[in-house]
Structures are given as structure tokens and as C-alpha cells.
Symmetry: C2
Subunit: 330 residues, 2 copies
């Protein structure tokens, strides 16, 4: 799908349904061994400094691919700066992270491993750890043809696993595909209002989001104590302050709390605030309820994950010392 920053992509209109959204479809897996390795590494706590935090800690596949916390808990119980976006259906977005600083899932996966507020390790250390675990060799060989471990392979595998984390068969997708009874009249009204009042200018494409960057507060400024500056932190341009990637709305019923600061606890609150600051609209209670009813039709089949069994440490695996004195700046 072609994505155009800041504009509604024409390509995101589904030809068949004539709706600016496509159903989520199951993913074709070309290299199952790579996906299997990626799953192991996604659940691998030894990618963190402590040996306790994995990708799944904050992108929990039991709970919509998020941790349902305002911001995430990291190394030494660090308070993360921003709300964890869902990993579900995250492939196909224009970029990853709220400020879009990673182009691919693999590039994204590299971030938290080395972020002192998240997994708190380094890429060098993570590679040393995974290389030292004898049981991983066969999985790297199956996935890549040889046993070499490096950060590019680790993150490529995680990204490839994440690409499979799609949630097809949402009631809304069944409706898109022609089953007119898949959603109720009230939910359909919610969808129509979602379109007609402008939400879909940004929340479009198969993911209903993730296709553009937008100013949070395009009509009225958004008030928050969160200090994240959005895209400005990447571009350095003042005009990008509070510009964020539009979050995707698939499974949004499960991915509370909402916004980059996690300050909206309910879908009702999120819809009201968005209408107000992005569209200049004050929805009635009835209108909000309709849009929320529609949003709840976006919950699809959650990925069926067989929990991985991870190989034990080898003789050269570095020790994990969760309570080692915190270095300056942590």
C-alpha cells in the first residue's frame, strides 16, 4: 500500500468495498524458521540487561500487544516516556515508533534493547548473550543458513515474527467483505459518523491509522504534562512539535490507555478529545457512543501463539545482575 505523509492516500481506498479501509488478511510466511526464531527472541528476557524484560513485557500478546499502562516499566522499574503502541498489525505502517524514527519493524526492535529506560542492554551485549546460548545455533542456521548471530539478524527475526501478528476476522472486516449482518445498525451509524466527521482523514488504510503523521491538536492545542515533542525530536524543526504518527485503531478496544501520553483511559474519552482538538467537533454522548460501538468492531482474532521454549544458558553466557549498581544517568 502506498502511503503519503499527511495526506489521505488514494491507494488506501479499497476498490471492491469502496471504503477507505481494507480488511486485515492473514500473512504469507516465506521463511517459517525465521518467524520461529523471531518468536523466541520476542519472548527472550535475556535480550535485556536484567534477564527479566522481553519485547513481550511491554507488547504483551495476551493483552492486545500492549501493556495497558500509561507508559511502560523498564530496567530498574524505570518509568518510560511514552505509551507502548501495539505490535499487532504494526507492519504496513508508514514507520514505527510514535515519532516514526524507525522505518521497519526490525529497526524498531533494535531500539528498546539498547534503551536504558526499557530493556537497558546494548546491542553488543545482546549479541554476546544470544551467541553464548548453544541452543540458538540451530535456529539461526535454519533461519539464515548459518549460525552467525548479529544484531541485524536478531532484529530481522523479531521483525519477521511481528509481521505475522495480524488480527483478521474482525466483525468490521466481515462487513467489509459483504456480510451485512456482521455489524449492528448502531455500529454502522458509528462508522458513517467516523467517516463523515473526518476521523478517517487520518485513520484510514487496513490498520485505520499508521499511514501519516499529524499534529496532535490541529484545531485546538492538546494539554499534557508529558514532555515528548513528537517528530521534532527527530527533525529538529519547531513546526514538528506534537506531531506524531497517527496510531492504528485495530483492536483499539484492547489497547487502552490512549494517546502518546496514555492519558485517555477510555475510548469515550479518546473519541471526545480527538473530535475536539483534531476536528473542532463536540460530539454528543450519543454520537460518541456510536463511534465507540464502531471502534469495538475492529477487534480481530488475536494471534494464536504457542509459547516458545527457550534454550538454556551456555558456559560463556554473561551473568545477569538485575540489582547491579545503576550507572550514572540511568
Amino acid at each position: 500500500m502506498t502511503a503519503v505523509v499527511g495526506l489521505l492516500s488514494l491507494a488506501s481506498f479499497s476498490a471492491s468495498a469502496a471504503e477507505p479501509v481494507d480488511p486485515i488478511e492473514p500473512v504469507e510466511v516465506k521463511n517459517p524458521a525465521l518467524v520461529e526464531l523471531g518468536k523466541m527472541l520476542f519472548f527472550e528476557p535475556r535480550l535485556s540487561r536484567s534477564g527479566f524484560i522481553s519485547c513481550n513485557s511491554c507488547h504483551n500478546l495476551a493483552t492486545g500487544g500492549v501493556d495497558n499502562l500509561k507508559t511502560s516499566i523498564g530496567d530498574y522499574w524505570a518509568q518510560g516516556p511514552i505509551n507502548s503502541p501495539t505490535v499487532l498489525n504494526s507492519y504496513g505502517q508508514i514507520a514505527q515508533f510514535w515519532n516514526g524514527r524507525a522505518k521497519t519493524l526490525a529497526e524498531q526492535a533494535a531500539g528498546p534493547i539498547a534503551n536504558p529506560l526499557e530493556m537497558g542492554s546494548t546491542h553488543e551485549h545482546a549479541v554476546k548473550v544470544i551467541s553464548s546460548i548453544p541452543g540458538y545455533a540451530e535456529y539461526f542456521k535454519k533461519a539464515f543458513g548459518d549460525e552467525k548471530v548479529d544484531i541485524a539478524r536478531i532484529t530481522e527475526a523479531i521483525g519477521e515474527f511481528e509481521r505475522t501478528l495480524v488480527t483478521p476476522n474482525a466483525r468490521f472486516d466481515k462487513w467489509l467483505k459483504g456480510d451485512k449482518n456482521a455489524i449492528t445498525a448502531e455500529e454502522l451509524k458509528g462508522y458513517e459518523l467516523f467517516k463523515s466527521s473526518g476521523c478517517m482523514i487520518c485513520h484510514n488504510g487496513a490498520q485505520l491509522g499508521g499511514q501519516s503523521f499529524q499534529k496532535m491538536g490541529s484545531i485546538r492545542p492538546y494539554q499534557t504534562t508529558n514532555t515528548d515533542e513528537g517528530v521534532k525530536a527527530i527533525s529538529g524543526r519547531d513546526q514538528d512539535r506534537m506531531t506524531f504518527k497517527v496510531p492504528l485503531l485495530r483492536n483499539v478496544e484492547l489497547t487502552y490507555p490512549y494517546f502518546h501520553d496514555g492519558e485517555a483511559e477510555t475510548l469515550e474519552e479518546a473519541v471526545e478529545v480527538m473530535g475536539d482538538i483534531q476536528l473542532g467537533k463536540r460530539y454528543t454522548k450519543e454520537e460518541t457512543a456510536r463511534i465507540v460501538a464502531f471502534l469495538k468492531t475492529l477487534t480481530g482474532d488475536q494471534p494464536k501463539i504457542v509459547y516458545p521454549v527457550l534454550p538454556p544458558n551456555g558456559p560463556d553466557t554473561p551473568k545477569f545482575e538485575p540489582w547491579a549498581p545503576k550507572p550514572e544517568g540511568k
Copy 2:
């Protein structure tokens, strides 16, 4: 199996194989709905104060039912006082916890939920949280006949799930059942030495442990900086200081580090120390290697767990505030 504290149980001798150990067998499930609910609750981070820590955090089913840390990380990154024992094959032990303070798995499961150094919640709060999640009602109804949520039901479900976490088909079990090629000559020598030198006086029964309490350091005192006093903390009797439940040895290759203090990092070290302080034996390097080779035949098929999908919060679910000011004493 009858278990006799401090004595080798006669009942633990397998009649068929004439060995003081029985194979691990798959578990018969009478109430699959109860097991399913228990699995959800085992992976449920909302049983903790923070909404971040679940039973699986420290008894990780990806890594032998333990966290492979010396002691466990708890609420606010607390440093736990003792090494997390494996949850695998934990049913059928004489009691639960290192000091045996819980008789059943359900009673054990109640402990960490309310321990300030572990999940840091209270039973009252945990019940309030689970009751407030609308999606749990159907699971409680299927498991128990009605939707009532209380701590007894929560822990009964977790215990029933844990009862299913057995690891059959270890190579040693295949050997016990008559497949004489299932273990090597070296491994068999290790088993024979394990028996003849006295390890099996304590490490017997299907789990190779968990059937009695023993003094850590029965021949020579064990040196440790860990302050846990073992059974004395329960009985109040001085003679029970440093007496612990004998840990089970199933999957011991995966459940490092060893001992209640987690101070033995390798199986070699654990075998040497045990020989020394429990049996007054200084094994040669070759003997230690043989016993270790035998111990590695005890790794069975790890439980195949389909990762659960947990129902979202309801309108009355209490907020999770991981960084709320720590109360006095935490």
C-alpha cells in the same frame, strides 16, 4: 504417592522398574475449563499491584518454569529473598515453597500475589480487579458453575493449571520404561553413582525431590550470605534453621542457578557442593561429570502452552499505577 518427612518413602520405589523413582506421566484433566482459567490467571499481570508482574514472570514456562535469576525481581524492582523454584512437576511434592509453608499449589499461588517483594498486591485488591473484568465472568462460570470471584477460586484455578505442568518423556524416563538405549553408558554410570553415593536418599520419587525436608549442610555447614532460615521461620525451632524442602531435579538442566540462595551457577558446582556438605564426599571431576550427565537426562518435554488472550479491563477496574509512591516498608 505417600511421602514421609525426612525419610525415604517406601512408596516412592517403583515396583516395576525396581528404581526409587517413577517416570513423569501426563496428567488427567477433569475440568478443562478450570485449567484454562488457571492458565489465564497464571499469565495475568493484573494480579499484581503494578499490572506488570504475573506468576509467569518468575516461573517462566519458556525457561523451565523459573526466571534463571539468583533471586527474583518483584514489585518496584524489589530483590526477592530466595531463588524461585520451578513450577514444572511441582504437584506431588510434600509441600510448596522452600520452607514448605504451603500445603497445596493453590495455597502457594496465594503467597506471591500479596507479597510486597513479589506481586505486591493484596488478595482483596486482586479479587476486586478480576471481578471488575467483564470477560472473566464466563470463564469462572464454566470452571465453577457460577461467576463468583474470590481468592480461593483464583488460586484453585492457578493450582489446577500448574498441576498440568508436567514434563514427560525425559530420556531417563524412557530408560525407566525399558528403552535401554535411551541413555548412554556414561549417563547410566552417573545414575548409579547418584544412587550409590547417597543423593537418592533425598532426591527420590517421580520428581527426584520434593518428598522431604533436609538440613542444608547435614555433614558440613553451608556458607551463604543469604539470610533465609528455612523451616525455622515457620516452626520457630532453632533446629530447623537451614532446613529446606529438598528441591526436585526434573529439568534441572534448565532451572539454574541452584540452591535456595541461587549461589551455585552450574550443575557441576551444585553437585560438588551437595556431595561435600550433605554426603561428606569429594567427587572427582570425572564423577561430577557423570552425575551431571545423568541429571541432564531428566529434561522432559516442556508443556505446550497456547499463550492466553486475556479479557480487557471493565469500567470499574482499578487503575494500575506502577510508580505510585512506595508505602513505608516496601
